[in-house]
Structure formats: structure tokens, C-alpha cells
């Protein structure tokens, strides 16, 4: 048994924090024009410091506490309760995304053939290693994204180490990001470097990958050799067969909280903010209009794009397809919603704003989950004491308690199956399950004879 220590920041934790601060500092100073002799070395030092420092901090912090739910002080901490620190973080994150999407030259992205500078240049050696090409803002973003999911994923595992569902799920999240979304695509990009770009993350299906059917992307796959053809076929099977099939058996969680990159970030980096989601009925209404609206939108746009592709026309009803269809979607939904609002606003709106209000993939799977899936959250008879922990910590803003206190199963389109409601419930009321379709919805148990 562990010897339980009081909640204090000791030497090791401070060391860990300093180390990861050092790593961040290296990244930060490049933004202000500081240049290094040996970018490869500095980048290694920086990324390693962040990884090791944060891990030391997390290990020391959580191992000295007994295994169990660790939510003390969440609503008193300025960072995690929409206090000043929360707002500052939101502004910085939002700013980062705005620059990343629309002003990458401020990060040092070389434009019009110019060499990279600043932060992007720091990543050149790593990019060179993979593909033999200099880094781009997307390479830098992908690398940092993967680092964050890995590092904070380890922290998450330690935090929920009493819960094997959380441990296994998070290991899969890390592997999916590290290998499927980052290493493999980058390595293949290197092997295939004579061909034009197409998305090589095997789980990045349409409609989350909204440009899958865009003419340039289709062309790049079609002309991308046998690999390109494999990706084309796989992508179509992925959204037509694999997605409905797995969602029927396991609910949308197989994607949203197990392998998805957006979900992966929300579950790890977003974990300290999950309770900030809006639980009101009003928010639920907005959610339904927005998310299905966006699913409809991307479906229509994709049909237009396909029409253009097969008819060889660049206009639809006299409107230019790029200017009036694909570009606005990419700008408004692909960038502004999923990135700037989706992640930038973590500390204000919670960690799953994009997944809940915007993601068309989630909408698509949500319909299956709601109407034809074996997945549900079962309520344990009459044990609920209406305490509200489950609803508070549901990142999707589902009022879990409203079902639990009636002894009713929770079958909701938006539930991503993160399992946190079940983890935080102090009375053992909730269980994520796959089971028979009949009797899935509605009341399950009556304590009266």
C-alpha cells in the first residue's frame, strides 16, 4: 500500500515542472527570433525535456496519492474553473491557432520558396529525417500534437490508474496518435516523396476528413501509385462499412475516445477542462442543430464536389465550386471551428466543443449509436444518490444524472464513451456496456415487487 502524502508540491515535482518549462522555453524563444547553431540538438533537448519533465511531475504527483478519483480543488483552481489563468490560456491557445492557420509566416514558415526560420526551422532536422524535406507548419503542429497526447496521456493514465478501462483506452489513444497519425504517415510520405500529398492516416475517414473527395485529393490518390489506390479504396470502405459496423457493435466510442486525434487531444490535454461543458437543455438544442447541420452541409458540399469531379466542371449552378463550396467549409468548419474554437476554447467551453457541436463524423456515428447500436450506459438499479458527479464530469455535457436517478439507461447520440461518468460515480451506478438491442432504451429496473 502506498504511504499517502499530503497535497504538496515537493522537490521532484518542481524539478519536473522546471524541466518541461525549459523545453517550452526553447520553443518559445525561437518565436522571438533566437536562432541556434544546432537545431537538431536543441529540438531533441526541448522535446525530451517536455516529455521527461511532465512525466516526472505526473509520476511523483499521482503515485504519492492513493489510486482513485483526483478532483480535489478543480473548481477552485483558476486555470480549471474559468478564472484568470483559464482565460489567459484560452487567449494564448486561440492566438496560436489563428497564427497557425492563417499567418504561419509568424511561426517562421518560409513563404514562396524562402527558407524556414524561427520555430519552423527548429523542426527542419526532424522533418528532413522523415521526408528529406524542410518542415512545414503542419509538420510542427503534428509533432507537438503527438508529443502532447503522449505526455499528457501518461499523466492521464497515472491519474486514473485505478481504472483499467481508462488505462487501456489511453494506451490505445497514444498508440493511434503516435503510430497511425504521426510516424507511419510521415515515414510513408518519405518513401513516397515523389508523389503529391494525400492523407495517410488510415483512420482519418470522410466526413471528418472533409477534403477526401475534393478533386485535388482524389487526383493525388489516383495518381499516387498503388499506395494511393489502397488509400482511396480504404477511405471509402472506412466510412461506408467499417464505421457503421464498429459503431453498431461498440458505439461511437471505438472512434471518438479510442483512436480519433481530436478526441485524443480532448481526452488527454483536455482532461483538466472536461467539466466545463455546458449541461443545459439549451446547449443540447444548439448541439443538435449545429452538428446535424454541419453533417448535412458537408454531405451536400461533397456531392457538389463529386458532381464537379465527374462532370469535369469547376462550377455548380454557375457558382465556382472552390470559392463557394469547399473553401468556405475548410475555412469556417475545418479551421475556425475545429481548431480555433475547438481547442482554443478548452479552458472556457470544455474539451469537446468541436466533437459535440461540430464534428460531422461524430454526427454520423451518433445517429447510428442512437438508433441502432449495442452500446449503452447501464444504470445500477436504485443506487443513484443524485449527487451529480457524472453530469459534472461528462465532457459532452450530457446530464447523465437525469437518467441515472430514474434508473434509466443512457442512450445518447453524443456520448463518446469516455467512461469518466462511470469512473467518478461514487456509488457504482454506471457501466458502459455492449449488449442486446431489445430493452436498451427506457426503464430497466423497478425496486418494487
Amino acid at each position: 500500500m502506498v504511504d499517502i502524502q499530503p497535497y504538496k508540491t515537493g522537490f521532484l515535482q518542481k524539478l519536473g515542472l522546471s524541466l518541461s518549462a525549459l523545453g517550452l522555453l526553447i520553443l518559445a524563444v525561437t518565436l522571438f527570433g533566437v536562432e541556434f547553431e544546432n537545431n537538431g540538438l536543441l529540438l531533441t533537448v526541448s522535446l525530451l525535456s517536455i516529455f521527461v519533465g511532465t512525466s516526472i511531475y505526473a509520476i511523483k504527483t499521482y503515485i504519492s496519492l492513493p489510486a482513485g478519483i483526483k478532483n480535489h480543488g478543480i473548481w477552485f483552481n483558476s486555470l480549471t474553473s474559468k478564472g484568470l489563468l483559464g482565460w489567459i490560456t484560452a487567449v494564448i491557445l486561440t492566438g496560436f491557432y489563428v497564427v497557425l492557420y492563417w499567418f504561419p509566416e509568424y511561426l517562421g514558415q518560409g513563404v514562396k520558396g524562402a527558407a524556414n526560420t524561427n520555430l519552423i526551422a527548429l523542426f527542419n532536422p526532424l522533418s528532413d529525417l522523415f521526408t528529406g524535406k524542410p518542415a512545414t507548419q503542419w509538420f510542427v503542429y503534428g509533432t507537438l500534437y503527438t508529443l502532447i497526447i503522449t505526455t499528457l496521456g501518461i499523466k492521464f493514465i497515472l491519474k486514473y490508474r485505478h481504472n483499467r478501462y481508462q488505462i487501456i483506452r489511453t494506451i490505445v489513444v497514444i498508440i493511434a496518435q503516435l503510430f497511425l497519425a504521426y510516424l507511419i504517415p510521415n515515414i510513408m510520405e518519405g518513401l513516397n516523396s515523389d508523389k503529391a500529398y494525400f492523407a495517410m492516416d488510415i483512420k482519418y475517414f470522410w466526413p471528418l476528413n472533409y477534403y477526401f473527395f475534393n478533386d485535388w485529393h482524389l487526383n493525388n490518390m489516383v495518381h499516387g501509385g498503388s499506395l494511393g489506390m489502397v488509400y482511396l479504396v480504404w477511405g471509402i470502405i472506412g466510412f461506408l462499412v467499417i464505421t457503421p459496423f464498429l459503431t453498431y457493435y461498440f458505439g461511437k466510442r471505438w472512434y471518438c475516445s479510442w483512436v480519433c486525434g481530436c478526441g485524443g487531444l480532448a481526452e488527454t490535454a483536455g482532461d483538466p477542462f472536461r467539466h466545463l461543458s455546458d449541461k443545459s437543455v439549451r446547449a443540447w438544442k444548439i448541439e443538435r442543430y449545429l452538428i446535424y447541420g454541419i453533417l448535412l452541409l458537408i454531405t451536400l458540399i461533397t456531392l457538389v464536389v463529386l458532381y464537379g469531379y465527374f462532370s469535369g466542371s469547376s462550377t455548380f449552378l454557375g457558382l465556382d465550386i472552390y470559392t463557394y463550396f469547399t473553401h468556405p467549409y475548410g475555412f469556417l468548419i475545418g479551421a475556425a471551428f475545429s481548431g480555433v474554437v475547438g481547442v482554443g476554447f478548452y479552458p472556457i467551453l470544455g474539451s469537446r466543443v468541436w466533437c459535440r457541436f461540430g464534428c460531422p463524423m461524430a454526427a454520423y456515428m451518433g445517429i447510428i449509436q442512437r438508433f441502432k447500436s449495442r452500446f449503452r450506459i447501464t444504470t445500477n438499479g436504485g443506487q443513484c444518490i443524485s449527487c451529480g458527479n457524472c453530469s459534472t464530469y461528462c465532457e459532452m455535457g450530457i446530464d447523465v444524472r437525469a437518467y441515472a436517478q430514474k434508473g434509466e439507461n443512457i442512450v445518447r447520440a453524443s456520448c463518446v464513451g469516455c467512461g469518466i461518468c462511470s469512473a467518478v460515480c461514487p456509488r457504482g451506478v454506471l457501466k458502459l456496456e455492449n449488449g442486446k438491442l431489445e430493452g436498451r432504451i427506457g426503464k430497466t429496473f423497478s425496486y418494487k415487487k
Partner: protein
């Protein structure tokens, strides 16, 4: 249209109000001064520890009440006059009713200790207790908690989360030993000590000393030890909150006396929840039940009766749950601290985790009577059915897995449990 007045906006009063509203359009007024809206008392600890904000303890949105035409009156009832069918309020007004539901809950016990009204002595029941503690905790270095029950352990966990040193005085020889059998009780003792709580068993409070300014300075125990402290938490149980009914003509004892239909001796007056005392309790239950779900069931039952379908209180087979720090506890059926004549016991305990399972079964009929479980979640529905259908103990052991309610991928112990059971029955045969 009838006017139904409900005193108390806790789980029982509010369940009654909601269920009456579902059935008809009568005027409903709920009176309470504790909080503007219904909240979950069971979550007070989580608010203090920063897991939730107070608003999260409210299961319904604030406009729910107006939408459902349930009038909320922020007041306290001073007197009930059954002859006039009226209640007198603190603000001086009085209110006529056609049906009256008393759902006033409990209040913390105080046993007349010297110094029990000093500043720094408090219980944990009402929202106001939480507010008091939230104001005072920063100046507290050591707290003494008197009484070893479920609220006591919650208070201990709350104070520990603020790095306050805690002493617990427990009258029994082991924690909650009036309810828990020795092995489970010993396990919780161990858990308490692991959290660096100074657990003093076989010890009672004798007196609370004044610092000279009306504040707590220290306490003296039955072992004649004086412990300096700035807070004394009195968690020695709760009693029905019914003083205002004295001399009203409504018959009371420790609680408001009710029959199986939750009717008092006075027509059109009902009592439900923590404050009700059943004249003829059933199913081995106590006359006064101070748990969440019984309040809820009584609320549903009384709503039926008032809406013309006279119903008796049928809580079914006993169950309950709690959490001791990180260790969850559930129970179904009856498990007494000491087994009764006819009861046999099977007990399994994990070697290195706070997990245990106790099955109680009939010595002759061999059928399952109850279960106590720590650190493993069990399905209510399954055990309820097994106990009702009197499944025999071998069946229960063989099918334990169907009753498991732990999250997916959790470690299973059924095989180990069965192994031990098989060994123990072999021993019995020899």
C-alpha cells in the same frame, strides 16, 4: 382544485411534488428556507472539496419549477393546525391546505455535551453547515470528529483535502461496527489510518472547552486526554426534524408516526422521508429510514395516494451504498454486524487491495440472504432477483460474474472467490 402543501424541499418532498404534478393539475406549494431550489445533500462533500460547484448539486434547472407550476416558498413552518387545515409561517403568513405532506428531513444529533454550542462545533447536514465550514476551515489546524458513521468519514475526507489534521473519536471498538461485521470494519480502520487520521477507538467525547472567547479550544475524551482543536465535527447520527409539530395533534414519537400508507393519525396529513417513523416497518427495515432512495420511494408512494390511488410503501429488498475514501461499498439484502442464528457466512478478502465480499445465506435452506461488497461493483437487479428467488449459495457463487458491475477490463475475482468457497465447503464436509 386541491391545494397540496409540502413542507421540505429535499428528495422526498420534491419527488412527491413532481409525481403529483405528473398526474394532475392541483396547486402545489413546497416550503423550505434551506435553499431556493432542491439540491442533493449527498453531494455536499464534493462541493467543499472542489469537485463540483453548488449549482451542480441541483438535479433540475432553475426554471423547471415554474414550468411545472410547482410554487416554491422560501420560508419555515412554525406550526401546523390540522383543525383549521393551515400552516403558520415564520414570516407571519399562514397558508391553507387540503393535503399536507411533512417531509422535513433530519437534523444533526447533539447529546448535551458541555460546550456543544461553542463557535467551531458543528454537524454536517444542511447547506448552512457547508457554508459555515467553508468560512472557517482556513483557520483550522486540527479537527476532532466525534462519531464513526458515514457522515463522519465524509467529513474526515473533506478536511483532509484541505490538509487539516483529523482525530476521530469512535465509541465502538472498531469503525461502524454496529453495522459492519468485524472484518470489514477492521479493513476500514486500516484505511482510515492509512490516511493519517488519528483514529481513537473505544473513546467518547466528555467535554468541549472554551478558549475564553466562545470558541473551541480543545476537547476532553473519555480516556482523559485533552486534544487541542479548532473544530469539533459532531457526526453522531441524525434525528427527525419535527420539533415544530409538538402539540399540533399530529402524533409523533422520534419521528412522525405513519401507517403503511404514510398517513399520520390526522386525515389529509402525510409524512415521508427521514422524518417519518413507520408504525409497522416491513422487511426487517427500521422504523426510521434515513437514506436517499427510501425518501424517493415514499415521495412516489404518497403522490399516488394523494392522486386517488391509495398505495402502501413497498421499498422491496434492502440495499444501500457508500464510499470510504476511494473504496466503494454496496450492500443488498441483510448483512448484520453479527450473523443471526440461522445465518451462515462466506467471506472473501483480497490480499493486497481494499476489496472484500461477504455472502450471507440460510444455514438450512442454503439460500442467499444478503451481500456486503467493498471495492467491487455489483448489479442491483441481479442480487435483488437472487434474494427474492432464494437462489442457493452455490448458484450465487457460480454465477457471480453475471452480477459484476465493474467497468470493462477490470480485474475479475470470481474464480478466486469460487476457489475459496469450494475449499471451505470441502473443509465443512470433512
Amino acid at each position: 382544485m386541491k391545494h397540496i402543501v409540502i413542507i421540505g424541499n429535499g428528495i422526498s418532498g420534491i419527488t412527491a411534488a413532481r409525481n403529483i404534478r405528473k398526474k394532475n393539475d392541483n396547486r402545489i406549494t413546497v416550503i423550505s428556507e434551506e435553499s431556493p431550489f432542491f439540491f442533493s445533500r449527498t453531494a455536499l462533500m464534493y462541493v467543499f472539496m472542489g469537485h463540483m460547484k453548488f449549482e451542480h448539486t441541483q438535479p433540475y434547472e432553475n426554471d423547471f419549477w415554474e414550468k411545472n407550476k410547482i410554487d416554491l416558498l422560501h420560508d419555515t413552518v412554525l406550526k401546523v393546525d390540522p383543525n383549521q387545515k393551515s400552516v403558520l409561517l415564520k414570516t407571519g403568513k399562514s397558508l391553507q391546505y387540503d393535503d399536507l405532506i411533512i417531509a422535513t428531513g433530519s437534523k444533526s444529533n447533539k447529546f448535551g455535551w458541555p460546550g456543544q454550542d461553542l463557535d467551531g462545533v458543528q454537524g454536517l447536514y444542511h447547506k448552512q453547515d457547508l457554508e459555515k465550514l467553508t468560512k472557517s476551515y482556513k483557520t483550522i489546524k486540527r479537527a476532532v470528529i466525534v462519531g464513526g458513521g458515514l457522515i463522519g468519514i465524509e467529513l474526515a475526507e473533506m478536511l483532509l483535502s484541505k490538509n487539516i489534521e483529523v482525530t476521530m473519536l469512535v465509541r465502538e471498538k472498531s469503525f461502524w461496527n454496529g453495522v459492519l461485521p468485524n472484518e470489514e470494519s477492521a479493513m476500514i480502520n486500516e484505511l482510515i489510518k492509512l490516511h493519517h487520521i488519528d483514529l481513537q477507538l473505544n473513546t467518547e467525547l466528555i467535554e468541549i472547552k472554551d478558549s475564553g472567547t466562545g470558541k473551541v479550544k480543545s476537547i476532553v475524551t473519555s480516556k482523559n486526554e485533552e486534544i487541542e482543536c479548532q473544530l469539533v465535527g459532531l457526526t453522531v447520527g441524525v434525528t427527525p426534524n419535527i420539533d415544530f409539530l409538538k402539540d399540533s395533534g399530529i402524533e409523533i414519537e422520534r419521528g412522525v408516526l405513519v401507517n403503511e400508507f404514510l398517513e399520520t393519525n390526522v386525515a389529509n396529513v402525510y409524512a415521508i422521508g427521514d422524518c417519518a417513523q413507520h408504525r409497522t416497518p416491513t422487511g426487517g427495515r427500521k422504523p426510521i429510514e434515513q437514506v436517499w432512495y427510501t425518501g424517493r420511494i415514499m415521495g412516489e408512494t404518497v403522490a399516488n395516494s394523494i392522486c386517488g390511488n391509495r398505495s402502501d410503501y413497498q421499498p422491496g429488498i434492502w440495499f444501500n451504498s457508500a464510499k470510504f475514501f476511494d473504496v466503494e461499498y454496496q450492500t443488498y439484502g441483510w448483512v448484520w454486524a453479527k450473523p443471526k442464528e440461522n445465518e451462515a457466512t462466506f467471506f472473501w478478502k483480497s490480499k493486497n487491495e481494499f476489496k472484500s465480499l461477504r455472502l450471507i445465506y440460510d444455514k438450512i435452506g442454503n439460500h442467499i440472504l444478503g451481500v456486503n461488497v467493498f471495492g467491487i461493483r455489483l448489479r442491483h437487479e441481479v442480487f435483488d432477483q437472487w434474494i427474492q428467488e432464494k437462489k442457493n449459495i452455490e448458484y450465487v457463487i457460480d454465477n457471480l460474474k453475471t452480477a459484476n458491475f465493474d467497468p470493462e477490463f477490470f480485474k475479475h475475482h470470481e474464480a478466486e472467490i469460487k476457489n475459496q468457497f469450494d475449499k471451505s465447503t470441502v473443509c465443512n464436509l470433512i
